[in-house]
């Protein structure tokens, strides 16, 4: 009887066994990376807006406090997008004839809202409350990134649940003093863990990770 398999089958057998292990491991790795990639989360992708509003100009350039426009961030679950009136407080006088701002003036004349594109859009089965985070010493830049350096707004974080849960499990890594919440130039100190642990105790921060905290 002739040999059933050629000698080369030995190589095929070995390669297929080892190859399968690496192939499956690689596949899992790729799935993991893809599910966390900006392609899925749209993080770091600057979004076009009806008016090319620059946070960089208004925050870093003019030194406007976050709360001047996002007024409800300390009291409401929703930080709010400023109405046209807020724009017109200044722009009725400044660049009052700029064609660039025509949509704002148009909105003011007609009463039709400006259709901003929402950048941070959580699914509606997630209940997120801005005021509690601000109140417990979580700064704007911790979640939203260096907004003062964003000519066009983008989403700094993945907004995936693991990102939320990481902070809810270890708030001491991210918490800052309440009076520094709205400081865009705040840099976590070298002894963040020490200060953070103290702040977690002072602010009575609970490490809420049960389903009903967010998925109400």
């Amino acid at each position: 009887m002739s040999q059933i398999f050629h000698r080369s089958a030995n190589t095929i057998a070995r390669v297929s066994i080892f190859g399968a292990v690496f192939f499956i491991a690689g596949l899992l790795l790729v799935f993991g990376e893809v599910s966390r990639s900006p392609w899925m989360t749209e993080a770091h992708v600057a979004r076009e807006q009806p008016i090319q509003f620059s946070h960089e100009r208004h925050v870093a350039g003019n030194g406007i406090d976050c709360r001047y426009c996002h007024t409800s961030v300390e009291e409401s679950s929703f930080a709010g997008i400023p109405p046209t009136k807020t724009c017109m407080n200044c722009h009725s006088q400044i660049f009052a004839n700029s064609p660039y701002l025509e949509p704002v003036r148009d909105s003011f004349r007609t009463g039709r809202s400006i259709q901003w594109t929402r950048v941070h859009d959580l699914p509606d089965f997630v209940y997120f409350n801005h005021s509690i985070h601000v109140h417990k010493g979580i700064g704007c830049t911790t979640c939203h990134g260096q907004v003062d350096r964003m000519p066009l707004m983008w989403q700094e974080s993945s907004l995936q649940m693991e990102w939320c849960i990481d902070c809810h499990r270890n708030p001491e890594r991210y918490v800052r003093p309440r009076d520094a919440v709205f400081r865009v130039d705040y840099v976590p100190p070298a002894n963040q863990l020490e200060i953070g642990t103290q702040l977690v105790a002072d602010y009575q921060i609970q490490k809420l990770t049960s389903c009903s905290t967010c998925h109400r």
């Binding site: 009887m1 059933i4 089958a9 649940m161 693991e162 849960i165």
Partner: protein, 449 residues
């Protein structure tokens, strides 16, 4: 040693007989059966498609009865599968020679039945496209893990392990047969396929020695699986707080029922195939007689369990428990209960008679009754416990819709489509194992094939 095959065929004859259907073109009988099975499968696919695209509400389930045909069919099919592993693993450990002619088709039956069963947990989900959430894998949700305390999750592991081990056991068992078929095939596609499937089997002493060890190890692994898988399935009910479900007897009782219904199905299939495929020499009256004895044993255990349940309900003094059993016997589903008792507890008792055990028509009818009875058993356990429970304000009736019936028909279609393909494409009797029971005894003259 008592011979289990008829006559004393030379070893080459055995190979010829088993390989014949693999080389001949299908007959009219097979084609008709296959067309019927495909039609049933198409009905099932249509129903499942409609149900998934429209919503689970197309079934007759309601807010009180959340499990109906879906889980009934699931438990029924898992149960069917268990006889296959019992025949291939437990009887191997017990060195039962009569398993050799029937183990291959019994294992095939296991695999196809587990496939049918595995379909139901998926399609009865409200959102089956999120079914992968049941797997504990690292994810971007925290990671969010599964809760290992739910028997429904144990089902996932039990069923997947069971299917995997059964597949491996089945395939390993076929390797020497593939080698035989490879060596008999003339050069061509068929030879290449059998050549690849036989993985270079050469039948040396060393290979056989290791092969036997592996078979015993796999049988040793599969045996606790048979017991645990259906026990886990039974815990879907037994770990609940529902009167009629919360019972400690369920794990062994379900396993006995599984073996009982599985043997019923093996009996149905083998009586048909031995006639259709002309394998009466290999699947003999004595095989059917032995299977009938196992059915009598397990059927009696099932009957004993019914009695135990009723007795414990009376003994417990728990009004809810008593109400459930009283409701089963006298309530709106009483006809299901009494048919079940007749088919499962009473009918197998005729098997005490040697005359019944040697009567193929009687065995065939009985094997059908067993499966009707065992399907009803799961239906009775699930539905009669759910539809009348603690709060009378939640008492309802459950009436399956045509979609559920169509899905059940579809699962039979899937099963028979697979089985009919199996008997045409794979050796349905373990050639090498049957030969060990034929003239290969060391003290006899060995006929060379």
């Amino acid at each position: 040693m008592r011979r289990w095959i008829e006559g004393d065929p030379p070893l080459s004859q055995i190979t010829d007989d088993v390989a014949r259907p693999l080389n001949a073109s299908p007959g009219k009988g097979w084609c008709a059966c296959f067309a019927a099975a495909l039609t049933a499968l198409a009905v099932g696919i249509g129903c499942v498609w409609y149900q998934i695209t429209t919503g689970i509400g197309v079934w007759g389930l309601n807010k009180t009865v959340g499990w109906g045909f879906d889980i009934t069919n699931f438990v029924f099919w898992v149960g069917i599968g268990h006889a296959g592993t019992l025949i291939s693993a437990i009887l191997l450990l017990l060195r039962q020679q009569w398993r050799t002619s029937i183990n291959r088709s019994a294992e095939a039956m296991t695999i196809f039945a587990v496939m049918c069963a595995g379909m139901f947990p998926l399609i009865h989900m409200g959102r089956p496209w999120l079914a992968f959430y049941v797997l504990p894998y690292p994810n971007s949700r925290g990671p969010l893990w599964v809760n290992f305390r739910s028997p429904l999750l144990w089902d996932v592991f039990a069923l997947n392990t069971y299917l995997t081990i059964s597949l491996v056991f089945w395939y390993v068992g076929m390797i020497p047969d593939f080698a035989t078929l490879r060596d008999r095939a003339s050069a061509g596609v068929k030879k290449s396929i059998y050549g690849i499937l036989s993985l270079g089997w050469n039948g040396s002493h060393r290979t056989w020695s290791r092969y036997e060890t592996l078979s015993m190890i796999l049988a040793g692994l599969a045996t606790p699986l048979v017991i645990s898988v259906h026990s886990i399935v039974s815990m879907d009910f037994a770990t609940s707080i529902l009167p009629g479900w919360h019972t400690t007897i369920f794990p062994p009782y379900f396993v006995a029922g599984a073996v009982y219904s599985g043997f019923g199905m093996v009996m149905t299939l083998l009586i048909l195939t031995r006639t259709l495929m002309h394998l009466e020499k290999y699947i003999t009256h004595r095989h059917l007689d032995a299977m009938a004895k196992v059915m009598l044993l397990t059927g009696s255990i099932v009957g004993l369990s019914y009695g135990t349940e009723l007795y414990v309900a009376w003994l417990s003094g728990n009004p809810y428990e008593q109400a459930v059993f009283y409701g089963r016997a006298t309530g709106p589903y009483a006809w299901c209960f009494w048919t079940m008792v007749a088919c499962n507890a009473l009918a197998p008792q005729v098997l005490w008679s040697r005359r019944v055990r040697s009567n193929i028509s009687a065995l065939f009818v009985l094997s059908i009754l067993v499966n009707v009875g065992m399907w009803l058993e799961r239906f009775v356990i699930i539905v009669t416990s759910l539809h009348r429970s603690y709060l009378p304000s939640s008492w309802v009736m459950y009436r399956p819709t045509m979609i559920e019936v169509g899905t059940l028909i579809g699962s039979f279609g899937l099963f028979f489509t697979c089985f009919l393909l199996f008997i045409r494409l794979l050796p349905m009797i373990a050639i090498w194992e049957v030969k060990t029971g034929a003239s290969a005894e060391p003290h006899e003259v060995v006929r060379h094939a």
